[in-house]
Subunit: 149 residues, 2 copies
C-alpha cells in the first residue's frame, strides 16, 4: 500500500482535476488554487498583501503578483488603509464573492460524490481525522510557516 502522503497527493490531484474540469464546462475561468486560498482568507477578514503572503506561506512579492492579477481580473480591489498610509486593504469585489460562493458549491458537490463513493461514515472520519491531525501538529495557529521577506 502507498504511504499516506502519496494517497493524499493523488486524491488532491484527482479532486482538483475534477473541480477544474467542471469550472471549465460551465465556462468559468479556472483560477489557480492560490486564488481560492486568497478568496477564502479575504472572506473572513480585511487583509493587506503582506497578510496574504503570510497566510499563503510565500514572500510578499509573490503575494503582490497574485493580488495584482486578481485586481486586474476584477475579483478584488485595493483600498487605502485607514490609518497606515503605506498599506492597502485588499477586499473581495462582488465578482470575487460570487466566484467563491460558486466554488464552494462545487466543492460540496464533489465532496458529496466522494461520500457516496466510499460511504458517508468513512468520509466523515477522513475529514475529522485530517482536521484532528492538523490540529495536533500545528496547534491553534494556521500553517503560514515561512518568513515573509
Amino acid at each position: 500500500m502507498d504511504p499516506v502522503p502519496m494517497l493524499l497527493a493523488m486524491t488532491y490531484r484527482a479532486m482538483g482535476d475534477q473541480f477544474h474540469d467542471r469550472l471549465r464546462q460551465i465556462g468559468l475561468e479556472p483560477l489557480r488554487p492560490a486564488h481560492g486560498y486568497v478568496f477564502r482568507f479575504l472572506k473572513a477578514r480585511r487583509a493587506t498583501t503582506v497578510d496574504i503572503g503570510q497566510h499563503l506561506g510565500v514572500t510578499k512579492q509573490a503575494a503582490a503578483k497574485i493580488v495584482a492579477e486578481l485586481d486586474e481580473w476584477g475579483y478584488v480591489l485595493r483600498e487605502p488603509h485607514p490609518t497606515d498610509k503605506r498599506a492597502q486593504y485588499v477586499t473581495l469585489t462582488t465578482k470575487g464573492r460570487d466566484y467563491l460562493k460558486f466554488a464552494d458549491n462545487l466543492w460540496s458537490d464533489l465532496e458529496g460524490e466522494m461520500a457516496e463513493a466510499i460511504g458517508q461514515d468513512t468520509f466523515d472520519t477522513i475529514k475529522a481525522g485530517l482536521a484532528a491531525y492538523l490540529q495536533h501538529v500545528h496547534g491553534e495557529d494556521q500553517p503560514g510557516l515561512r518568513p515573509v521577506w
Copy 2:
C-alpha cells in the same frame, strides 16, 4: 470546516515538511517528491525515461531532466535496452535502493505518529478510504494522465 482538498493539501504539506526535516537531521540529502515517486516506480519494474514521464504525469523532457539528476547523483543508472537500440532502461543503484528503504522506514514512522495522534482506527479508515476513492475515480490504471509528447 475547510473543504476536503484543503485538508489534503495541508496534511500533505505537514507530513512532507516533517519528512524533509528528519532527512536533513540525519544528514541525508533531501530529494524532491518526484524523485521518491521514481524510486518507488523503479523498484517494481524496469522502465525507460518515457515510462517514468508517463507515470509522473509530465513530459518526457521533464522526466529526462529528473533521470539525468538522479544519474549524476548516483541513485540510478542507464543501461542499454536489450532489444531496442534507441531506448535505455533506468535502474536503481544500491545507493538508490538504500535511500528508498530508508525513506520508507521514515514514512512508516511518520504514519505511526499520525496513527498515535488521531487513533489507529481513524488512521486505518483514512488510508483505506482514500485508496477506495482513488480506485473509484481511476479504476485500475494509475494516475499518469497527461499525454507524454
